[in-house]
């Protein structure tokens, strides 16, 4: 690895870790994993931002132009983090050693080996193969490859505008409206690699997968889930075949949306349960970045903001809001039109027989019964999700008391319910049904909410005595309420 590549990886990691540390200076259970997880993902996005801001005129040397600013940011937020950290309790206590039976050891060995093995295969797959999946080269790498090989930025415009521009003034393509954040990140790594070397510009997908798992493990621990169940749920999340596929066949934006949406949910939960304002800021940061990654991110941002905002209201206020929303819905049905401003998507027009999304086009509204087969097969039959969608309803039914006791879980469940409702509306009631019937989009959109769903399952099992569940005679199982915390 060249020095430039090493710098291109270490600097964003340092910037991301320092940024996360500003939001979360405390060293509670799982903080190392959470810091590295959030830090690595933030770092790559910060590198993208620095490249977009400071390397437009000379993309071939993006690292040279953007790195000093990223280093400056690292120094500033690092200092801020250190300042915030002062006065907080130092060091970390260790969890009481647990008597671990052989079955736990066997399971942990299988889980870690499975994750490590798929991680290694994914890494090799990325490092060997030219960009493979369709949208990776047709949509997501078009802007980055163009700008990098051209040596500078040029706008991507509509076909009509492209035809009136001079050839050296603008580009176009089927994905000209797509956000460019991931493209700028690819330019950062391409400039460090010294050329458009596809395995090296796709390598962030591996770091993202690791970061996603680490962030979830760390935050689950901070939310009170003991080490063993946290490991179980990390294994369940990390072993989902489609998630692994998106890492190994790098280049799609969906894994980024899944990671950022999941990370926003985790920080939001921590704010709901621990009233830590920094976590709220973190949740907002993650959620706001969604439309910058993919157009669908605007929908997730809207739903997330809607449910989070709803959760902020006092009980009476919520009734008013529900009443107003119902009145608006009835009014829009009476008028025959509903207009929603969506960040990144424009003014979305919904009329009885059509949804008009400016950057996507018009989708006719009609029942598509045939797509139901595609939805069911995707969730319950194909290998995409292992047994997740069989397991989820059983766990949620079994742990229903947790919902009654924890408002945070009710809110998260509401968010997921609304999200699933949106996906069902999209795939069963609009022209997007063809993407469910052909399996070309349904699983990728479902993937966006899967880490958040696993978080709901994990949090629902927070007070389960796993040691007792697996073996009634086991000792020393950590419970949510057990102090003290542990960094791992």
């Amino acid at each position: 690895m060249s020095l430039a590549l090493l710098l291109a990886w270490l600097l964003p990691l340092a910037a991301g870790v320092a940024t996360y540390a500003v939001f979360n200076p405390r060293r509670e259970a799982g903080w190392i994993a959470a810091t590295l997880g959030y830090g690595s993902v933030f770092g790559m996005l910060l590198a993208a931002a620095a490249t977009a801001l400071f390397a437009r005129a000379d993309t071939a040397h993006a690292l040279l132009h953007a790195a000093p600013w990223l280093a400056l940011l690292t120094a500033v937020v690092g200092t801020l983090g250190w300042w915030r950290r002062r006065g907080l309790p130092g060091g970390t206590a260790h969890e009481h050693s647990q008597i671990v039976d052989k079955w736990k050891i066997i399971f942990i060995t299988i889980a870690i080996t499975s994750l490590a093995w798929r991680g290694w295969i994914g890494l090799r797959e990325i490092l060997l193969r030219p960009t493979f999946p369709w949208d990776a080269w047709d949509a997501w790498a078009v802007k980055s490859k163009t700008w990098f090989l051209l040596g500078h930025y040029l706008p991507f415009v509509s076909m009509r505008d492209w035809l009136v521009h001079l050839p050296a003034a603008a580009f176009t393509g089927p994905a000209w409206t797509y956000p460019a954040a991931l493209g700028w990140m690819q330019i950062w790594f391409a400039s460090a690699a010294g050329g458009w070397i596809e395995p090296l510009v796709n390598l962030p997908w591996f770091a993202l997968w690791v970061g996603l798992l680490a962030a979830h493990y760390g935050q689950w621990r901070a939310l009170g889930l003991a080490r063993m169940p946290s490991l179980i749920f990390v294994y369940l999340l990390g072993s989902l075949p489609l998630l692994t596929t998106h890492m190994a066949l790098a280049g799609y934006a969906d894994l980024w949306i899944a990671a950022l949406f999941g990370m926003a949910v985790l920080a939001w939960l921590r704010w709901l349960e621990q009233r830590d304002r920094s976590q709220l800021a973190l949740a907002v940061l993650c959620a706001v970045s969604l439309p910058l990654l993919k157009l669908e991110g605007a929908v997730w941002l809207l739903l997330f903001a809607g449910i989070a905002g709803f959760g902020l209201l006092p009980r009476r206020g919520r009734r008013y809001v529900i009443a107003v929303l119902l009145a608006l819905l009835i009014l829009s049905m009476a008028v025959g039109k509903l207009v929603l401003p969506l960040f990144g998507l424009g003014w979305v027009n919904i009329v009885p027989h059509e949804v008009d999304v400016p950057v996507i086009g018009k989708l006719a509204i009609a029942w598509h019964g045939g797509a139901l087969n595609g939805v069911l097969r995707s969730l319950f039959a194909q290998s995409n999700w292992n047994l997740l969608w069989w397991l989820a309803p059983i766990i949620l039914f079994w742990r229903w008391r947790e919902w009654r006791e924890h408002r945070s879980l009710r809110l998260l469940a509401s968010l997921l319910l609304v999200s699933i409702g949106f996906l069902l509306f999209l795939f069963l009631l609009t022209d997007a049904a063809r993407w469910a019937e052909s399996y070309t989009a349904i699983n990728r959109l479902i993937m966006h909410i899967v880490p958040a769903l696993v978080t709901l399952l994990a949090m629902s099992c927070r007070n389960v005595d796993f040691g007792h569940l697996f073996k009634p005679t086991v000792h020393g199982t950590a419970r949510a309420s057990d102090p003290p915390p542990d960094p791992a």
Binding site: L128, L149, L163, P167, A168, P199, L242, L469
Partner: protein, 398 residues
């Protein structure tokens, strides 16, 4: 008391075994009245097959295939003495050293349609015998007069130039309906390897191989739930025991499915290692699965480099994949799909039309115009090589 415990446990084991046999039997599409082992087996030594495409030599009862035909395919076939398809529901085949870079297809011909050759992709052979449930193969009915195997580069993932390596074809068998045959086909389907495909990023299930058993997930889940209920009823489990059993069973099934998928992932990756390992990036960048499109892009690039002014390139091809891929490979040349310019005014001063493997647009020499999609552009041909045609507006500076 002790005897009762032993009796309950024996009943438990029998109940769970019965549930799994029943559920897996449905998955395998077993004919419940069929015998355990097939009554009829028709064995065909590979040496009895005729090499139709490519080249091969007999090796005792096997056939060593040493070369592929000019069109990138190899084919071995055998004439059959009018075999009734309904009598044989399982096909078994065995190859040795079959490269991961090749895809295997079954080829057969029926007496009622002698000119109609049926070709279906079948699971990759791997080591040992592989089995295929023929009752779901489209066209497998009536009298079969010829049967064969064809090999070609695995589509979408393998560059044709590195696809072929010699292998040995050992033989094939046709089996009458039996439990053994159905479960062998289920095993091949569930534990066989499926190469990466363009659809893999969107769904892991639909595949090119035909006559596959339904995926394992719903059957494993169903069998797991039924087994748990049976055990809980027989052993009078408490709620806590039920939850413990549920947790252990689902975790165990999850791990089992995970290991099965990991094995498939590993096999998928071995193909990637086969093609790309130990090569520099420059070499790997040239080893694209669509080398023909990459060569076409290179032709355009070389031609455009001779022009004095920059141009818009409007690219067309019959297949969407082809023109989009061509546009990506042409970057940073300023290219876009011609189909998107429908109904728009194309500026004559700086536009070139790049047609590759395209039949929707036609150059009319008499009118000196490019015709298609209810449009006509006054152009002249300026470059032609094989399936690549480039046109420019008449009389403009280039």
């Amino acid at each position: 008391m002790m005897r009762r415990v032993i009796r309950d446990r024996v009943i438990c084991v029998l109940a769970v075994a019965a549930i799994w046999t029943l559920v897996l039997g449905f998955a395998a599409d077993v004919r419940w009245s069929a015998p355990f082992a097939p009554h009829q087996r028709m064995h065909m030594n590979a040496s009895a097959f005729h090499v139709v495409m490519g080249a091969g030599v007999e090796d005792d009862t096997a056939l060593r295939i040493g070369a592929i035909g000019d069109d990138g395919n190899a084919l071995q076939s055998i004439a059959l003495d009018s075999v009734r398809a309904e009598d044989f529901t399982v096909l078994r085949y065995r190859f040795d050293g079959f490269p991961r870079t090749l895809e295997l297809s079954l080829v057969f011909r029926r007496a009622d349609a002698p000119d109609d050759v049926q070709v279906v992709t079948v699971p990759w052979p791997g080591k040992g015998w592989r089995s295929l449930n023929m009752s779901h193969v489209p066209g497998w009915h009536g009298q079969i007069t010829e049967l064969g195997f064809a090999e070609n580069a695995t589509p979408q993932v393998v560059p044709e130039s590195v696809a072929f390596r010699p292998f040995r074809f050992d033989g094939a068998e046709l089996w009458s309906p039996s439990w053994r045959g159905s479960f062998a086909a289920l095993y091949t389907s569930w534990f066989g390897y499926t190469p990466w495909a363009l659809l893999s990023i969107s769904a892991l299930g639909p595949q090119r191989e035909v006559a596959q058993a339904p995926p394992p997930v719903p059957f494993v889940a169903l069998a797991g739930i039924l087994s748990l209920l049976a055990v809980a009823l027989i052993l009078h489990w408490s709620r806590a025991q039920m939850l413990g059993g549920f947790a252990i069973a689902f975790l165990g099934l999850w791990v089992a499915l995970d290991l099965r998928w990991l094995d498939d992932l590993h096999a998928k990756h071995e193909l990637t290692e086969d093609v790309y390992a130990d090569k520099s990036w420059d070499e790997r960048a040239r080893l694209l699965p669509d080398q023909d499109i990459a060569q076409a892009a290179e032709q355009v690039r070389v031609f455009v480099s001779t022009l004095t002014v920059p141009h818009h390139l409007l690219v067309a091809s019959d297949e969407k994949y082809t023109f989009l891929r061509l546009i990506y490979l042409l970057l940073p040349l300023n290219a876009a799909p011609l189909e998107q310019a429908a109904g728009m005014r194309v500026p004559p001063r700086d536009t070139l039309f790049v047609l590759y493997r395209d039949t929707q647009w036609r150059y009319d020499e008499k009118r000196s115009a490019l015709l298609g999609d209810n449009r006509a552009y006054p152009v002249e041909p300026i470059f032609e090589s094989g399936e690549m045609h480039i046109y420019g507006f008449r009389g403009t500076r280039r």
